[in-house]
Subunit: 345 residues, 2 copies
C-alpha cells in the first residue's frame, strides 16, 4: 500500500531531517510522480544517491542536491566545498566518475560580491581538483528575507566505471562493512558552533570529496554498495543498506570510529551520535574475501587512515541493523527522526 500524507499535514523541519518522518514524506511525494526512471535505469523511487541513464556503450549517473548549510563558512569548509564535494560523492557512491556539474545559485539581495566570489572559488577549486567541468548554471537574486545568504543547487553527472551495479540494494550476505573514518564530525561541528559550545580544540567538519580515495577500488568488482552517511547520519545510511538489500547488518559498536569531541558534543546535548551527519565518509559493503585488501587501499589514503571494518551482512535480522555493544549485549540501531538541527547540508 502506498502511503500518502494527509493534505492538511503541516510540513515540519523533521520532514527533511533524513530520518523516519522524511521517509514518509518522500514516499508521499514519490506517489505523485508517474514516470520515475529511464528504461532499465535506476530512478528516483529507489532513493539511492543518484539515478542512472543507460546509453548504448555506457551508463550515466545523475545526482541532484540543494545545499543550504548554515553558516555558509564553517570550521573545516564552506558552502562551495560542500556543494561540489557532496555532489561528487553522490555520483561516486553509484560507481561513477564525475565529469560535469551544474550550479544554480539563489542569492539574497544585499550580500557582498566578495562572499559569492569566495564560495564559488571554493566550489571551482574542488571541481578543478577532480577535473570536473561546470557546464551549466543559473543565477537568481531574491529579495531580503526570501533566502538566507546563499544556497546552491547542483546536478552532478558521471560515467559509471564500476563493472557491476553499485547500489544500496546490492549488499550480499557475508559482505564486510567498511566505514572510512570517524562518524559525525560535520554535523557535530555545526551543532557545537550553533549551541556555542567551547571545545578544547576546534572540531572541524569532515567535508571532503572521496573520489581520489575510492575511484581505484570501484573499478574492481569487489564493491557491492556504497553510501555517504550525510543527512540522518550513520544510522540512516546503514538502515538503508539493510532494508533495501533485505539483509541484517551486525556491527561491533567498539569498532565504529568516533572522534572524542564528537562524542563529547553528543553526550553534552543528549544526541544520538548515529543520527549526526558526515560529509566526507562512506560506508562500503565489500565482498568478504576482498575486504582486507580494500581496507588497506583505503587506509593508505589520508582521508581513510582511520577506516575500519565495523561488521558484516548476515542472513538474520533481515532489514535491521544490530549493534553488538561494548558490554556484550545487542541492540537495534533504528532510524531516528533524523538530524537534530536543520541546515547541516
Amino acid at each position: 500500500m502506498i502511503f500518502s500524507m494527509k493534505p492538511d499535514t503541516i510540513i515540519e523541519l523533521n520532514h527533511g531531517a533524513g530520518g523516519t518522518l522524511m521517509d514518509k514524506f518522500l514516499e508521499s511525494i514519490l506517489s505523485i510522480y508517474n514516470l520515475k526512471s529511464i528504461e532499465n535505469g535506476i530512478g528516483v523511487d529507489e532513493l539511492d544517491d543518484g539515478a542512472s541513464i543507460p546509453l548504448k556503450d555506457q551508463t550515466l549517473i545523475v545526482s541532484s542536491d540543494s545545499h543550504t548549510v548554515d553558516p555558509i563558512f564553517f570550521p573545516g569548509g564552506d558552502l562551495g566545498i560542500l556543494a561540489a564535494a557532496g555532489t561528487f560523492n553522490d555520483v561516486l557512491m553509484m560507481g561513477a566518475k564525475p565529469i560535469a556539474i551544474t550550479c544554480a545559485l539563489l542569492i539574497e539581495e544585499g550580500i557582498l560580491y566578495s562572499t559569492v566570489e569566495k564560495i564559488l572559488s571554493s566550489f571551482a577549486k574542488i571541481c578543478d581538483e577532480h577535473n570536473v567541468a561546470v557546464i551549466a548554471g543559473d543565477t537568481k537574486i531574491l529579495p531580503k528575507g526570501q533566502v538566507d545568504c546563499m544556497y546552491i543547487s547542483t546536478t552532478g553527472i558521471g560515467i559509471r566505471i564500476s563493472p557491476n551495479v553499485i547500489g544500496d540494494n546490492q549488499v550480499k550476505v557475508g559482505d564486510k562493512i567498511i566505514l572510512t573514518g570517524p562518524t559525525g564530525k560535520h554535523g557535530a561541528s555545526l551543532i557545537a558552533r550553533r549551541e556555542g559550545i567551547n571545545l578544547q580544540t576546534e572540531l572541524q567538519s569532515d567535508v571532503a570529496a572521496l573520489a581520489p580515495m575510492l575511484l581505484p577500488i570501484i573499478e574492481t568488482d569487489s564493491i557491492h554498495a556504497m553510501k555517504d552517511p550525510t543527512r540522518g547520519g550513520l544510522g540512516s545510511a546503514l538502515n538503508e543498506f539493510a532494508s533495501k538489500s533485505n539483509v541484517g547488518l551486525l556491527l561491533d559498536e567498539e569498532l565504529i570510529p568516533v572522534h572524542p569531541e564528537v562524542n563529547g558534543v553528543c553526550e553534552l546535548l543528549g544526541l544520538d551520535i548515529y543520527s549526526i551527519s558526515s560529509e566526507g565518509r562512506a560506508i562500503i559493503a565489500v565482498d568478504s574475501e576482498k575486504a582486507d585488501e580494500v581496507l588497506k587501499i583505503i587506509q593508505a589514503h589520508p582521508l581513510g587512515k582511520e577506516a575500519q571494518i565495523i561488521g558484516e551482512a548476515i542472513d538474520k535480522y533481515h532489514g535491521k541493523v544490530v549493534l553488538r555493544t561494548s558490554i556484550g549485549g545487542h541492540r537495534l540501531l533504528r532510524k531516528t527522526l533524523g538530524e537534530p538541527i536543520p541546515r547541516v547540508c
Copy 2:
C-alpha cells in the same frame, strides 16, 4: 579583458534580472570557474539555454534552473508547471528532446502538504505529457523566513535530435526571425497582479511547454537558433542572437505580436514591453527559404496561432537589434537593466 566585479559590490535584485547588470555579474562569476565545458561540448561560458555533452553516438543536452516564482499559484499556471515547462523549453531550445528531469525542493517549514502536493501534481502532469521521467531529486525543509513558501531547482536532460547545432551563435545573415506568439504575457500578468491592477479580462501567463509544437521542426536542418524570451524579455533574447552571432537583426515593430492588455499594463506602469518575460514563446532563426513552411507548421499548433515572421538577420548593425517603428523610423532595441520586478521565474 575579463570583467570582474569589485569585492565590495553589494548584490542587487538587478544582478539577477536578465539584463545588462546581470551580464556583468555572470561574466564575473564565470571568470572564477576554470573548466567550463566537456571536450567539444557547449559549456556554461556560452550562456546559452543549456550545455552539451558529446558522447560516441549522440549528444546530451543539459540545462539547470531554479524556479522561485512569486506567487506560486498565478493566473494561467503555477510553480510546478513553470518548473517543468521552463526546463523542457531550455533543453528544446538547444535542439533536443527532453528525456529526464531532476527535481530539488526547498520548502518552508509550516506550509501545508496539500500545497506541495498541488505543485508537484502540476509538475508531474507536464512530465507525463512529455514522457519525461523524474529520475532524481532532493528535499530540504528550511526554517520559516529562510525560503518563501517553495522553490524548485531542476536539471533537464535531453538528446539532441536536430541534425545541426542549434545555438544563439548560429544565426546566419538572411535568416528570418519567427516569434511564436504575443510577447510578455507571463511577466505582465505577474506585474498586474502584484501592482493590484484590475483588468477587464484576466490576463494569464503564457507558460507552456513548447516541445509538441517545435519538435517536428527541429528535426529538419532549417532551424539555426532558438531561444525562449524568459527573464529579461524579448529584448534580451534578441540581443543575445545579435551579439553572439555577430549579425544585425532588423525587425518590424508592427509585426511583433502583443496582447492588448500586456500593452495596457506596460503603458500604465511605464514599462518597456520588450523587457517583460514570456514563458511559452520562442524566437527562432530560420533559413529564409524554409521560413514560410516553418511558420505554417507553427501556426497550425494551438500554441503558435499568432506566430509571425518579425524580421531578419542582416549584414549590417552587427551585434545590434534595430526596430523599424510604426511611423517609419528606426531605433535600437537595447538590453535594459532587466525585468522590472523580481521572482517572475
